[in-house]
Symmetry: D2
Subunit: 245 residues, 4 copies
C-alpha cells in the first residue's frame, strides 16, 4: 500500500500565524489549503499555493462552513444549496491562485465540522460531490476511510468523482471503524512511537487496531499529520520515512 | 459606435435583497456580478450566474475591497499584494459558478472605491491587470473612459489585457473628462430625458457635453445603468432602444 | 390580560434596508433591536435606538449567533462559554447607544436559532440568563410562553431575572403548546382576520386554539408582530387596537 | 513624572493566539483590550478582562476600524457618524465584560490606523471624543503626546474628557515631535538598552531625543510596550523597574 501524507496548511489568518508551513511543506505529499472560510485570506492563499508549488506538493482545497471565529469546527444547519455553493466558492477562490502559479486544485478535503457532517449525512456528501463534479471531474474528494467504503464509493461514482481514503493514525477507532469521539479521554493517541507503530502496521499489514484490539482493515491512500505541534517537524519526518512517499 | 449596457447585478446579501435582477437582466448586455466582498454570497452568486446565463448576458466579475458593511465604497489603504490577491480570489470564486453553469467570466469591473482608486493610482491599476492576466488573458478589464485613454491602453497591453471603456451617462463630467465629484450638487443627472439625450448624442455623434458645455469625445464601449431605482426598468428599456444592443 | 406588541426592528445591514421601522415604531411597545451578529451595524443601531427613544418604545437587545449571511437562522454548535460571551457582547454594544440616547436596555430576546435552541436546551437557557444577570438584573428575558412555564420561571428566578412571556398569534401550535414546525405547511397562519381573532381570544379569554382545536391557556405578556410584510403597517395598527396598549 | 506602562492585550482571535498576556499582565498598568473589530472575539474579551482584573490592571478599550484581516492597520475613509458609532459599539461591548467582572472601562485608546487618523484629523478626534463623552465622561482618551498638546487638550475639555498622554520609547521622533514614519528605516529603535536609556531620560529629565538629537520635552503619562516579541517579558520587567509603577 502506498500511503501519502496530507497536512492542513495555509491556516494563518491576516496577522495571525499558524503552523510551520515553510518547514513542513517539503515532507508532505498533499497540502489541504484553507480557502478563507475557517482560516486563511487572499494573501495567505496566494503564498501557500506558491509554497506548495515550490515543493511539488499536490494541492487540495480545504473548504469549510463560514465561521472564522469558530475555525469551522462548529456544525451549522445549512441548506444543501448553501453547502454546494460555499464549496464551489472556495474551490474557485483557491483555483485562481493555482492559475497564478501554473498549477491546479487536485482534490477537495472538507474541513472540520463540514468533514464530520459529510460522513454522517448522505445529502451533505452528495452536495459536496455535486459541487466538485460541476467544477471539474478530475478533482478528487478525500473522505474518512471506514470498513464500509462501498456506499461512499458507489455514490461518488454516480457523480464521476474519485475518492481518496484517509486514515487518522493518531486517533483511536471504535470496533465499527468510526473514530472515538473527541469528547472521550482516549480519542487521541499522544505517544508518537505508538502512532508510528500504527502507521507501520497500516502500511505493511493493512490494518489499524481498534481501541479494543480488533483489527480494522482500512483502505489508506493517505494519513493525516498535524503541522502545529512542538515537534511536528521531527514527527512528520519520521512518518515520512515509514511511508516512503 | 456600438454601445452596450452594463449593470451591477447580484448585489443582494443573505436575506437582504437589492435590485430587480430578474426584471432587468433581459435588457442588459453585461452583468457586473458581486463576488462576496462588498455584496453577494455564495448562494446569491450561484443564482445570479444562472440568471445571466438564462438571458445570454455576458458575465463580469465585480471585485471590491473587503468591506460588506461599507458596500466597498470606502477607500482602504491596501498593499499591492493585497489588491492583486483579493481580485484573484473574487474572480476565482465567481468562475466556479460560471463552470457550474457552463459559462465563463468575460471581464472584470472593479467596484466602488477600488474602481476609483484604480483610475487614480497606476500601481493599483497594474495590480488589477496583473491579477487578471495571471488568471486568463481573455478576460477584459472595464475602466472609465477618459479623453486620455492612451496611457491606460498602453499599460493594459503590457499585461496582454484588452480594455472595455465605460461612460456614465447620468454623471456630469468636468472639462478635463473626469467625473464631477459626488460631494458636489451637480454630480448626478437626475432627469432621465436628459440622460437619454446624452446617450443618443454619445451614440450618434461620439461625445458627451461637460458641465460647462464642452464636447468630450469619449470612447464608449458600454454605458452603466442602475438597477435599483423606482423606475429602473422603464428607463433601462428606453436606453436599450437607443443603443439598440 | 395586558398584551404588548413586540417587533424585530433595526434589522437593516449597511446599505441593505429591511422593514419599515420609521412607520411601525409608533405602534409597538417593545422593539427587539439587532446587535450586529445576525443583522444591523453600529450606525444602524445608533439610529434604531434614537428612533425607539423618539416614540417611547421599550428597547430590547436581540442577540444572535454570529452569522450575518444566514441571518442567525442556522443553529450552530457553540460552547456555553461562547453563548454567554456573545450575548454579553451584544447587550453591551446596544447599551452604548442607549447611553448615547439617555435610555437603556430593558430586556433581551434571543434571535432566530438562538431563541429556538434556548427553548430546547436548558444549558443554553442558563448561559443566556447568566449573561443577563451579570450585566444587569433589571434586564428581563423574553421567552416563548408554553403551557408549562414553571420550569423556566424557576430557573430564571435562580438568576434573579424576570421573564416576559411571548405568544405568536400567526403561528399554529401543537396540542402540547409547542409551535408547529416551520417545515410543515400549516406552520404559519396567513389570514390576517384569523390572526386578529386569535389575538382577541387570547386577550379576552386567555387562550389560543391549537391546530386540533384544543384550548391552550398561555400567559401572554407580549405578542410578536412582523414589520416587513406588504401591509405590515395596516395589520399592526389593527392589532394594536385590539390589545389597546 | 509618574509614567505607567500600557500594552496592547487581548489580541488573539478565535483559535489564533497572539501575545503572552498571561505572563505580561502582572507587569503593566494599563491594558488596551481589543474589542472584536481588529482582533479579539467575545470569549477572548471575557477572558482578557478577567485576567486584567486578576492583576488589578486598569482596563482600556482599544477600538479600531472594522478590519480583522488587516488588523485595523489600513486607513479607511469612514464618515464621522460611522467613526462615532463604531467606537461606541466597541466601548459598550467591552463594558459588558467589565460588568461581568465587577470592573469598568477606564480609558479608550484607538488602535492602529484609527489612532493615526485621529492625530491627523481633528474631526475624527472629535468624533471619538463625542463617542466617549456620550458613554461616560469618566472615561479618558489616550493620545500621542506631542510638543503641542494644547490644541488637543482644549478640544478634549470641550467634550468633558481627560487625556492620557502616550510616548513611544522605541520609536524615533522627528524634530517637530511627530513619529518617524514606519516606511523609513529608522522608524523603530530595536536596541533595548537604547530604549531603556530613553525611558530613563524621559522619567528623570522629561525629554526624548529626536532623531537629530534635539531634546523633545513631552508630557508622558504612559509609555507603550509590546507584548509579542521573543523577550518581551524580560524587557517589560526591566522597563517596569525604571518607571517604578
Amino acid at each position: 500500500m502506498n500511503i501519502r501524507l496530507n497536512c492542513d496548511m495555509g491556516e494563518s489568518f491576516g496577522i495571525w500565524k499558524m503552523g510551520k508551513d515553510e518547514e513542513i511543506m517539503p515532507y508532505i505529499s498533499l497540502a489541504n489549503l484553507a480557502c478563507g472560510f475557517h482560516a486563511s485570506d487572499a494573501v495567505t492563499m496566494s503564498r501557500s499555493v506558491e509554497l506548495a508549488k515550490k515543493y511539488n506538493v499536490t494541492i487540495g482545497a480545504h473548504p469549510s462552513y463560514q465561521d472564522l471565529v469558530g475555525f469551522g469546527r462548529r456544525s451549522m444547519k445549512c441548506t444543501l444549496e448553501e453547502i454546494k455553493s460555499i464549496v464551489l466558492y472556495q474551490i474557485g477562490a483557491l483555483y485562481s491562485f493555482c492559475k497564478l502559479n501554473k498549477t491546479t486544485v487536485s482534490y477537495v478535503k472538507p474541513h472540520g465540522a463540514l468533514y464530520n457532517d459529510m460522513m454522517k449525512d448522505d445529502n451533505i456528501y452528495k452536495a459536496i460531490l455535486s459541487a466538485i463534479s460541476s467544477f471539474d471531474k478530475n478533482i478528487k474528494l478525500m473522505i474518512l476511510s471506514t470498513p464500509n467504503n462501498e456506499a461512499y464509493e458507489h455514490t461518488a461514482r454516480l457523480y464521476g468523482i474519485s475518492l481518496i481514503y484517509e486514515v487518522f493514525a493518531d486517533r483511536n477507532y471504535n470496533d465499527d471503524g468510526t473514530l472515538v469521539s473527541r469528547v472521550l479521554p482516549d480519542a487521541v493517541i499522544k505517544d508518537e512511537l505508538d502512532v508510528m507503530q500504527r502507521i507501520t502496521n497500516l502500511k505493511d499489514r493493512g490494518y489499524l487496531e481498534s481501541i479494543s484490539g480488533k483489527k480494522l482493515f482500512l483502505k489508506a491512500d493517505t494519513v493525516c499529520v498535524h503541522g502545529d505541534g512542538d515537534n511536528a517537524l521531527t514527527f512528520i519526518k519520521a512518518v515520512q520515512k515509514i511511508v516512503g512517499s
